[in-house]
């Protein structure tokens, strides 16, 4: 079976060779032939380029995968291009020598699609296995592991014999095993290969084993199935841990969105429908800061979020202060009117942002330290989520310290518990109200900085969080920060544990039903405040 396939490929390759006979194996000529080739022919040409084994073609293939390879319209000669002002700088694909500058209109981009990118990746993997750079060799081994081929097997074995770095060696062993499985090697070698892949484990391991399960020698079928079950069992255990982590991450987002509301609604008792818009304003502040950094000081981009934090806090706290002084202070003790007025404020703010920035999403970039993921055992943890968990917990702790340890926190608690007593002790209660509301709004604003990293920055951003925020605060117990923390995390984890079983839509409904039942049983939430202040 494999022999036949192999001869077929050989036959195809020789056919291809005849159709591009003029190209021969000269890399320069092969590259120039790309200028007129369609997707199919391009694939063959890349195969021939890889077969030359010439390390000089690596940069050109990389450029091709990035879409930076262009053909000159006049003679269809192919070059690597780099933008140079209004013109484009041409670079020879083989020698890497500069070949002048031309206007972009004189060039045609070489088209590329996913399939070609895969072919290039695999070709590059074969070509760079012997690179002196350790990271490049690792990437090459990864590429071979992802798209193993019987042809690359000998290259991998040659590289493996010379490899000195332990980590790269392990990866190359795995790449070799994946290639052995689809080659026509003897059963013993394949059996070893199955063991190697079983030790690799994870989704990648299953994927490699499953892909050969229909074509493997029947004698090995038992070993293969055993290896697959072994990986699946260990994955199942990790999956529970993974879901708990997802739940914590969702919980931390809920906590971020709700913690400002825990002050304005929880402590002050204001039904603040404009809370979501404070989050939105925080996100837009981040956008503005990033825009300024992009145009004036691009080297600071990785610091943009740190710079945006105080900006967002000041902006939203300022807006909060204006809202409290302008609207809410006239409406204390009248929840229905407060609800309507703050809802109106939220509509005004949304439309204001829409008029200034337009209704479309704004692009807020992720700094490099918030992109990507890392593996912790079988756990896949993305950096942005990890940072958000850490960030929301530190806000929580910070707020707790302000509330319990500072003079302002003391006054705030005094005013909310017994306004008249506090007033007669000389506390200026109206200003405490105003600053408490500003604090809650400011916290919502810095939550917006974090949420801009995972959600759309659009005028509607706030709306999607307002319901969840109220849910968390009510569930956790009004007026209690710890309740908000526990409420957010337990709702997040519950949601994420339900989601794999029920699907996202039903999961959300179930969580809502559970909350309703819970509130029936305990109307004051998880951590109810006790004492005379509550009854008033």
């Amino acid at each position: 079976m494999f022999k036949r396939l192999f001869t077929l490929t050989l036959l195809l390759m020789s056919l291809a060779a005849t159709s591009f006979a003029q190209s021969g194996s000269d890399p320069k000529a092969l590259f120039n032939a790309l200028g007129k080739a369609d997707f199919k022919q391009t694939e063959e040409l890349i195969g021939q380029l890889a077969a030359t084994g010439d390390p000089r073609i690596v940069p050109a293939l990389e450029a091709f995968a990035e879409g930076e390879l262009y053909a000159r319209k006049s003679d269809s000669a192919v070059f690597i291009t780099k933008a140079a002002g209004t013109n484009v700088a041409l670079i020879d694909p083989v020698t890497g020598a500069a070949a002048g500058e031309v206007p972009k209109a004189q060039l045609n981009k070489l088209k590329i699609n996913n399939n070609l990118r895969r072919v290039i990746r695999s070709a590059l993997g074969g070509l760079t296995l012997l690179s002196p750079d350790k990271a490049v060799r690792m990437a090459a081994a990864d590429a071979v592991l992802k798209s193993p081929s019987a042809e690359n097997l000998e290259l991998v074995e040659a590289a493996l014999a010379k490899e000195t770095d332990a980590a790269v060696k392990v990866r190359m062993e795995e790449a070799r095993a994946a290639s052995v499985l689809i080659s026509d090697r003897v059963i013993d070698q394949k059996k070893q290969a199955i063991d190697t892949i079983a030790n690799l484990g994870g989704r990648d391991g299953i994927s490699i084993l499953m892909s050969v399960s229909s074509s493997i020698d029947p004698a090995l079928k038992g070993d293969l199935d055993m290896a697959i079950t072994k990986i699946e069992n260990s994955l199942k255990l990790w999956e529970v841990a993974q879901n708990v982590w997802y739940g914590m991450s969702l919980g931390s987002v809920l906590l971020l969105a709700a913690i400002g509301l825990a002050i304005t609604f929880g402590v002050m008792g204001i039904i603040n429908m404009a809370h979501g818009e404070m989050v939105m304003l925080g996100a837009y502040s981040t956008f503005m800061v990033q825009e300024l950094i992009r145009t004036h000081a691009p080297q600071l981009f990785d610091w943009s979020l740190a710079i945006a934090l105080p900006v967002a806090f000041l902006v939203t706290a300022g807006v909060g202060l204006v809202i409290e002084r302008g609207v809410i202070r006239f409406l204390y003790g009248r929840p229905l009117e407060t609800l309507l007025a703050t809802w109106g404020v939220s509509l005004i703010l949304q439309q204001l942002v829409r008029s200034i920035f337009g209704p479309t999403n704004q692009e807020v970039g992720n700094p490099s330290w918030m992109s990507g993921a890392f593996a912790l055992g079988g756990l896949q943890i993305t950096w942005n989520r990890l940072w958000i968990v850490a960030f929301s917990l530190s806000i929580f702790i910070g707020l707790l310290i302000v509330m319990k340890r500072s003079a302002f926190g003391l006054q705030m608690r005094a005013v909310t518990q017994n306004r008249r007593m506090a007033s007669s002790m000389g506390i200026r209660t109206p200003w405490v109200d105003a600053f408490t509301f500003a604090l809650g709004s400011g916290i919502a604003g810095i939550a917006g900085v974090a949420l801009s990293q995972i959600d759309n920055v659009s005028p509607n951003l706030g709306q999607s969080y307002i319901i969840d925020s109220f849910m968390v605060v009510v569930f956790g117990g009004v007026g209690n920060l710890w309740g908000t923390l526990v409420g957010a995390l337990s709702l997040g984890i519950l949601n994420k544990l339900l989601e794999p079983w029920t699907g996202a839509v039903l999961g959300k409904i179930l969580v809502l039903v559970l909350i309703i039942l819970f509130i029936q049983k305990r109307p004051r939430g998880l951590f109810a405040l006790k004492g005379r202040a509550v009854e008033a």
Partner: protein
């Protein structure tokens, strides 16, 4: 204090009710057309662009001398992403403003809400967005893509060019994704895909925590067969979805995602570098290399005074619908609904991909299907373009609708003719 509160309330009410504003001039010898797109609320993000596009088309037409020797006047109303309000505003446009035709709606819910109004008052609606099909009204022209003009060619492309054997149909939980996925599932099964190789999954509107879903896709994709995701995820939920894909390291080479609701406009809010190679299927991309498109983009940039504004597929559909209406009115010599309905069938107008689009008797149009891959600059590179396809209103892959056809020419004049029973009046409207 109460006075101030009342003033505040009045202010809010005033702001909320200034939803209708009219064009600058309202002389006697103008022809009015209605523009019914949400300018506030959740759909404003997509629909505002179409309102701008319509105003541009009207301005351009007036530069050419208008229609029937009269200037056009656009009456813009804001239905505020509120489906019942769409019906109200449509009624206002037709009865009070006496518009000759209306261009508008985005979601299927809004279209379903205005459909009875247009049939009752006998006016014309041009609907410029891709939709799930299964409808054909005498008074509505569907210039966006039907499923066979978008979804099915996209799946074909993946099957042929990427060798995909396993499918995740991921959508937002409402009528368009559900119907499209039903059609796609039936289509895939008819192509020999096994049921266990198809995973259908829905998420709520505005879903933002994609961690579990993306890892589910990853797990489904590790069964040793080439896997692809067909995404009918709507609007706002896309950005977090693509961000999560990128963060979890799913590249287009491993598991490509083909989307039907993601265009240039949606990509404007994302850093597209990690998304290079993911696909979208439309009937138009801004990157189409045709002189007529270059001209259109130039006019658009001049009109919006912003050379960063992108163009997208629904804009092209609005462009085709508007020009077809103009041509039909000129052929009929009047804007009277019945005459225009007769004269518009068979009208051919240039589309922006360099060909022409024809209005068919089923009130859908012909246009090519383009498959594009996302590029680092937020544009699409076209990797395949089909010849013109006729929009198929009643899907051939659903048991309920495979016998139905629509033909609004006389003497048939029927939106749901059942070829099996030979009678007009199957299911649907």
């Amino acid at each position: 204090m109460t006075l101030k509160a009342k003033l505040g309330g009045a202010l809010i009410a005033a702001i909320m009710s200034t939803t209708a504003f009219h064009g600058a001039f309202a002389a006697e010898d103008t022809i009015k057309i209605g523009v019914l797109h949400s300018l506030s609320g959740t759909m404003a993000i997509s629909e505002t662009t179409l309102k701008d596009a319509m105003l541009m088309l009207v301005e351009e037409q007036n530069k050419k001398g208008g229609v029937l020797g009269k200037k056009l006047e656009a009456v813009v109303v804001d239905p505020a992403s509120d489906w019942p309000l769409f019906a109200e505003k449509a009624r206002q446009l037709i009865s009070k403003d006496k518009v000759a035709a209306v261009f508008g709606c985005w979601t299927s819910s809004s279209r379903k809400s205005v459909l009875p109004v247009f049939e009752e008052l006998n006016s014309i609606l041009f609907y410029p967005v891709q939709y799930e099909g299964e409808e054909s009204s005498r008074n509505i022209f569907y210039t966006g893509a039907a499923p066979n003009q978008q979804a099915i060619p996209a799946v074909d492309y993946l099957m042929k060019n990427e060798g995909v054997q396993r499918w995740v149909l991921e959508g937002t939980d409402y009528v368009y994704p559900q119907t499209t996925n039903k059609i796609l599932k039936a289509y895939l099964m008819s192509k020999g895909v096994k049921a266990e190789d198809i995973m259908v999954n829905y998420t709520p509107f505005g879903f933002s925590d994609w961690q579990t879903e993306v890892s589910k896709i990853k797990a489904f994709g590790s069964a040793g067969k080439k896997t692809a995701v067909v995404s009918t995820i709507n609007g706002d939920a896309n950005v977090p979805f693509y961000k999560e894909l990128a963060n979890q390291g799913i590249k287009a080479e491993d598991i490509p995602v083909v989307a039907f609701s993601v265009g240039e406009e949606e990509l404007a809010g994302i850093d597209t570098k990690p998304l290079v190679g993911h696909l979208a299927a439309w009937n138009y991309f801004q990157s189409v290399d045709a002189p007529i498109n270059a001209e259109f983009i130039k006019t658009w940039h001049a009109f919006t005074k912003n050379d960063k504004r992108v163009t997208n597929d629904p804009m092209e559909a609005a462009y085709i619908g508007f020009n077809a209406w103009v041509k039909a009115v000129e052929a009929a010599g009047t804007t009277e609904t019945d005459k225009v309905l007769d004269s518009i069938i068979g009208v051919s107008v240039p589309n922006l991909s360099g060909g022409t689009s024809t209005v068919m008797p089923n009130h859908h149009i012909t246009k090519p299907v383009l498959i594009g891959e996302i590029q680092a600059n937020g544009q699409f590179e076209i990797v395949q373009q089909t010849p013109s396809v006729v929009g198929d209103e009643w899907s051939d892959y659903l048991p309920d609708s495979k016998d139905l056809i629509s033909d609004w020419r006389k003497p048939m004049s029927c939106g749901n003719f059942n070829v099996a029973t030979g009678k007009c009046g199957g299911k649907g409207s």
